[in-house]
């Protein structure tokens, strides 16, 4: 379990690298970890960007079971109370997802190839 700050740095580095990659160089993009938190029945950030190969780390800070359920059926991750669950992204797309148990919790994850 690494401190949250570490992931933010890694995520920032990942974004920086992806910026370089779009310039046409062959620099291999390192997989990043993107942290998304479910707290007080809200998903933050409500819109996040990631790339195929990145890991999403959903942190459930609530006392309730939540889920991260893709509307297109790509994934359905159950998040027990006060637990963190990781998912490696395998497919690109702009995915709207929600909590199956609390459908008011909605967010979007934009996954670039």
């Amino acid at each position: 379990m690494k401190p949250a700050g570490y992931f933010l740095i890694v995520a920032a580095a990942g974004l920086a690298l992806s910026g370089i990659a779009t310039l046409g160089s062959s620099v291999p993009a390192h997989a990043a970890t993107v942290q998304i938190t479910m707290r007080d029945l809200e998903i933050a950030p409500a819109a996040a960007d990631a790339k195929v190969g990145d890991t999403i780390e959903w942190v459930n800070d609530d006392i309730f079971v939540h889920s991260a359920t893709a509307r297109n059926g790509d994934w359905d991750v159950t998040l027990p109370p006060n637990k963190t669950v990781r998912l490696v992204l395998k497919k690109a797309g702009a995915i709207d997802y929600y909590c199956r148990f609390h459908p008011n919790m909605k967010a979007r994850l934009t996954i670039s190839p």
Binding site: D40, L41, D62, I63, F64, P81, F101, H102, P103, N104
Partner: protein, 173 residues
């Protein structure tokens, strides 16, 4: 009509029964007892629905109720223990329990679609009443910050339940 009537009864039970209506605001030990009792009532109703209903959506809703209300009550128990508060029985809790027992009995006589409709309608009414009581009475009266915060979390999740129940009630029509 039925919904409105039960909502009125439930609201009356919460807001204008016994000591709470006339006297000053409820104390923290009373608030803890009322909130916990309200949760237990909904879990019991949900378990009856899980037992009796054949409708997939109704069962899924009931399972959500068990899971969420048990989570809140577990947290509430841990909190009162931490704060060394003993929940105190009171007229509101007693009226709630009495009405809930009557409703449970009434629903036990129903079957199939009639049961589903009565259960879901009552869930709409019940959550409306509980949310109203949380908003106007219990949260404003709570003295302890952690208790207030838990009640606020409860309100947020129960408002979601109310919407879910309303949605389900519309589908069952």
């Amino acid at each position: 009509m039925l919904v409105r009537l039960s909502a009125a009864i439930a609201a009356a039970a919460l807001l204008s029964s016994g000591a709470l209506a006339q006297d000053a605001k409820p104390t923290d030990p009373q608030i803890a007892h009322i909130a916990y009792t309200a949760g237990v009532i909904d879990v019991t109703a949900a378990k009856q629905a899980l037992d009796k209903s054949k409708n997939k959506d109704v069962k899924a809703f009931a399972a959500d109720m068990v899971r969420d209300h048990e989570a809140v009550n577990k947290k509430a128990l841990a909190l009162v223990k931490k704060l060394k508060v003993t929940p105190e029985d009171n007229d509101t809790s007693r009226t709630l329990s009495k009405n809930a027992a009557a409703k449970l009995k009434e629903l036990s006589a129903l079957k199939g679609a009639a049961f589903d409709k009565a259960y879901v309608d009552n869930e709409v009414a019940y959550h409306k009443a509980v949310d109203g009581a949380l908003e106007t009475l219990l949260i404003p009266s709570a003295g302890n910050a952690e208790l207030k915060s838990l009640l606020q979390t409860g309100l947020k999740i129960f408002q979601g339940h109310e919407q879910h129940a309303e949605h389900l009630a519309a589908e069952l029509k």
